[in-house]
């Protein structure tokens, strides 16, 4: 009470504070005013010339130019490259071939058998990517959910474990690949351990199935921390009182999970699923550094195919690479639209 009275009695103090803030504002205004007056003249002129609505485009122009230069122009150039042939990088020196690159990519007796396709490496990459995404996303989202649920409980050293799961996300993909390569190579840590236990080592990265399996594992290990974090945030957003009510009704943990956690977490799950799908389709760097796409083409994914056709091989088939990248972009656009549609449906209840 005394404090309240005191504050009331010392009224000038806060007033003084406001004064200093006002004087700072005044100073800023005094500094800006001349600049604004300079800008005002051409703005008034433009406003009179174009009208208020069209003037908005003048403000948007710098962003539009930059965005156009770095986002739209590459897309347009990509389309142009996809419609041209030859191995010259200069668009002006590339002959127009229409849809030939797309026809080459799509020329298959059976899409289920890459050996029957003209561009068999492309279809091997497509199927590898499809298998990889299915396995990796399924396993990763499952494990991320499990980890998030565990880390959401009141366990000892919860902060430490959260950091442990998130740590691989901070590593560079090349570092991730090299760490696991050192572990899994013929004379790596894992084989040394298996030799020591008497089980005997195995040449993991020379066997196509194992190399693919380890690529999925490596990718899950490297990325699940990110999705765990998102799901953890989703779990923490679920009101506690719903769980308290379920406890009072003596609902079993499994029923609580099925009837409360999963439905209320589904919007977050959806985001995680679509993000993981998009990221999965784009997988390249870590697996490329890990296996180089081998053995044979066992771990060659679609982005590696694009890189090798367009940049690493000879001759450089920019047209074929651009056509393949447009197809990948199409798939990603479809996935994004599905996400938007599902989000809207979920928001509409």
């Amino acid at each position: 009470m005394a404090e309240t009275t005191g504050q009331g009695a010392n009224a000038p103090a806060p007033t003084h504070g406001r004064d200093s803030g006002a004087s700072r504002d005044g100073l800023a205004l005094r500094l800006i005013s001349p600049v604004m007056r300079l800008v005002e003249i051409p703005m008034l002129f433009l406003q009179r010339l174009l009208g208020i609505n069209r003037l908005a485009w003048v403000f948007l122009l710098p962003n539009l130019v930059l965005f156009g230069l770095f986002a739209f122009l590459p897309v347009i150039l990509n389309i142009a490259y996809a419609a041209t042939g030859g191995d010259n990088v200069l668009l002006a020196d590339r002959p127009y071939v229409g849809a030939r690159n797309f026809v080459t990519l799509g020329d298959c007796a059976s899409y289920l058998d890459p050996n029957s396709c003209r561009e068999d490496k492309f279809w091997r990459a497509v199927w590898n990517t499809a298998w990889f995404v299915t396995l990796q996303v399924g396993i990763m989202v499952g494990f991320s959910l499990l980890t998030a649920i565990v880390l959401n409980r009141e366990i000892r050293a919860r902060g430490f474990f959260r950091a442990v799961f998130f740590f691989p996300v901070l590593l560079s993909p090349v570092v991730v690949a090299l760490i696991w390569k050192w572990i899994l190579q013929r004379e790596g840590v894992l084989n040394a351990f298996l030799d020591w236990t008497g089980v005997g080592g195995y040449n993991w990265l020379v066997d196509a199935d194992w190399a693919f399996g380890w690529s999925v594992f490596l990718s899950v290990w490297a990325h699940m921390g990110f999705y765990t974090l998102i799901l953890l945030a989703g779990l923490q957003a679920i009101p506690r009182d719903v769980y308290e009510a379920a406890t009072m009704d003596r609902a079993s943990p499994w029923r609580v999970f099925r009837r409360i956690t999963l439905p209320l977490l589904s919007p977050t799950m959806l985001v995680v699923l679509v993000l993981a799908l998009i990221k999965g389709v784009q997988t390249f760097d870590e697996v490329y550094a890990f296996t180089g796409g081998g053995p044979g083409t066992a771990t060659t994914f679609i982005i590696q195919y694009i890189y090798e056709e367009g940049f690493a091989g000879a001759p450089r088939l920019f047209g074929l690479a651009a056509a393949a990248s447009l197809l990948v972009a199409g798939v990603l656009v479809v996935l994004t639209l599905v996400q938007l549609w599902l989000n809207r449906r979920s928001a509409d209840g």
């Binding site: 042939g85 030859g86 191995d87 010259n88 990088v89 200069l90 050996n115 003209r118 068999d120 490496k121 091997r124 013929r186 040449n203 990265l205 020379v206 196509a208 296996t291 180089g292 796409g293 081998g294 053995p295 044979g296 083409t297 066992a298 771990t299 060659t300 590696q304 090798e308 940049f311 690493a312 091989g313 000879a314 001759p315 450089r316 088939l317 047209g319």
Partner: protein, 418 residues
């Protein structure tokens, strides 16, 4: 007035300095060992003899030469000079040195290697072959001795070496009997020895006759004669060698090339005895290795073509070339230097003997191998060989299908290049 004089003098100095600064030559260089360092040192003498010329050696990774340089050249932003390995492949950008050099001296000094840089109608003088290499085999003599098995002698076939290496590996508990680098260039010599033609009747690239070698090589990878790790642990056309396995004493017979001598010399030391045994023979009669290496070329887009030509011509002079060959421990492509013999600087007796053995094996190089090295489409063929042969080794394709695919890939690549 004094200030005016000062300003005038400064302007005059800057004006005079400008042309000198314009004579800056950029040399994009990669090293297998100490090549760029030696060039940088040797070129200081050129700079001293040509005041105002500054040759800057930009040391880059080999990958930059393969992937970045062609794009830079296409975009018109390339260096003035570069050390390249895709000899004919970049011909369209090369500066023709003919007006600036003594072509008689170049013909007498470099002979057939000049053709490696020529393509179609462009038949000038483009490249100084600075680093001649030849593929061949290193054998672990200590393992042969421990196993009590005689090393196959001159004229021995691939089959002879495979049998001997398997026996040595078995007797000594060595994990790998044989290995060939994962490279289309490296298997070319053995493939020619098995009957690969590499060219059709019109002189275009071809994989005709490749199948016997492919079948043998895939079989050796299946039965454990060859280290499966080398060809099956990678994808695409990625290069992979087996030098570390040889250096670690885990490999009996290693087919690589003369550029590995320095590495063997410094890293094997006296751990075991090794020797160069040249290229084994094949059923087609040839015992061919594959020549190769790197060369120094200038580019038409340079602002200072005369200086570029002068720099390359300086490096081509016999005394300079001999010094560089000795200091970098590379086989000389300069006929005069080769004839005089090179005392390789700092090379142990084993390395000196190995380099001499490689140089001696040059006589066995098949004309097909020599032509293949100069073929403008060889990089595409090297890549196709590695990709398809690897697929056959891991069982994705049969040998027959792999060779058929090689032909189709080549036809598509050539059509696109045209």
């Amino acid at each position: 007035m004094t200030q005016l004089k000062l300003l005038g003098t400064t302007a005059l100095v800057l004006g005079l300095a400008a042309p000198a600064m314009a004579q800056e030559i950029r040399f994009m260089c990669y090293s297998d060992g100490n090549e760029c360092e030696v060039y940088d040192d040797v070129l200081t003498r050129f700079e001293a003899a040509n005041p105002g010329v500054d040759v800057i050696v930009d040391v880059v990774p080999y990958q930059a030469i393969l992937e970045n340089l062609p794009v830079q050249l296409a975009a018109g932003t390339g260096p003035d000079i570069a050390k390249v390995t895709d000899l004919g492949g970049l011909n369209q950008y090369y500066l023709d040195l003919t007006p600036h050099i003594d072509t008689g001296y170049w013909d007498a000094s470099f002979g057939g290697t000049l053709d490696w840089y020529r393509v179609g109608d462009r038949q000038g003088y483009y490249g100084l072959h600075s680093q001649l290499t030849i593929t061949g085999a290193f054998a672990n003599a200590t393992l042969f001795e421990q196993a009590g098995i005689e090393m196959p002698g001159d004229g021995a076939t691939w089959e002879d070496w495979a049998a001997a290496s398997r026996a040595v590996a078995e007797a000594t508990g060595t994990p790998f009997p044989m290995a060939i680098d994962r490279s289309g260039h490296r298997v070319a010599g053995p493939a020619i020895s098995y009957g690969a033609q590499y060219f059709d009747a019109e002189g275009n690239g071809s994989f005709a006759g490749f199948e016997p070698f492919a079948a043998a090589f895939v079989g050796w990878n299946e039965d454990g004669t060859f280290a499966r790790d080398v060809w099956a642990s990678q994808g695409g056309a990625t290069y992979q060698d087996a030098a570390q396995e040889f250096i670690n004493g885990q490999l009996v017979f290693y087919y690589s090339g003369s550029w590995q001598v320095g590495r063997m010399d410094s890293q094997v030391g006296d751990l075991f005895d090794w020797q160069v045994v040249g290229s084994p023979c094949g059923p087609a009669g040839a015992c061919s290795g594959m020549p190769g290496g790197a060369g120094i070329v200038g580019f038409e887009q340079s602002q200072n073509p005369e200086i570029v030509a002068a720099v390359i011509d300086f490096l081509a002079q016999e005394d300079v070339y001999a010094e560089v060959a000795a200091r970098t421990r590379n086989l000389p492509a300069h006929l005069g230097v080769a004839a005089a013999g090179v005392e390789f600087e700092g090379a142990s007796p084993a390395a000196q003997a190995a380099l001499n053995a490689f140089a001696g094996d040059l006589a066995n190089v098949s004309p097909i191998a020599f032509a293949y090295q100069g073929y403008a489409g060889n990089r595409a063929m090297f890549g196709i060989t590695v990709e398809r042969l690897s697929q056959a080794i891991v069982g994705e394709l049969s040998v027959e299908d792999a060779v058929a695919r090689m032909g189709e890939d080549l036809a598509a690549a050539m059509a696109e290049s045209r």
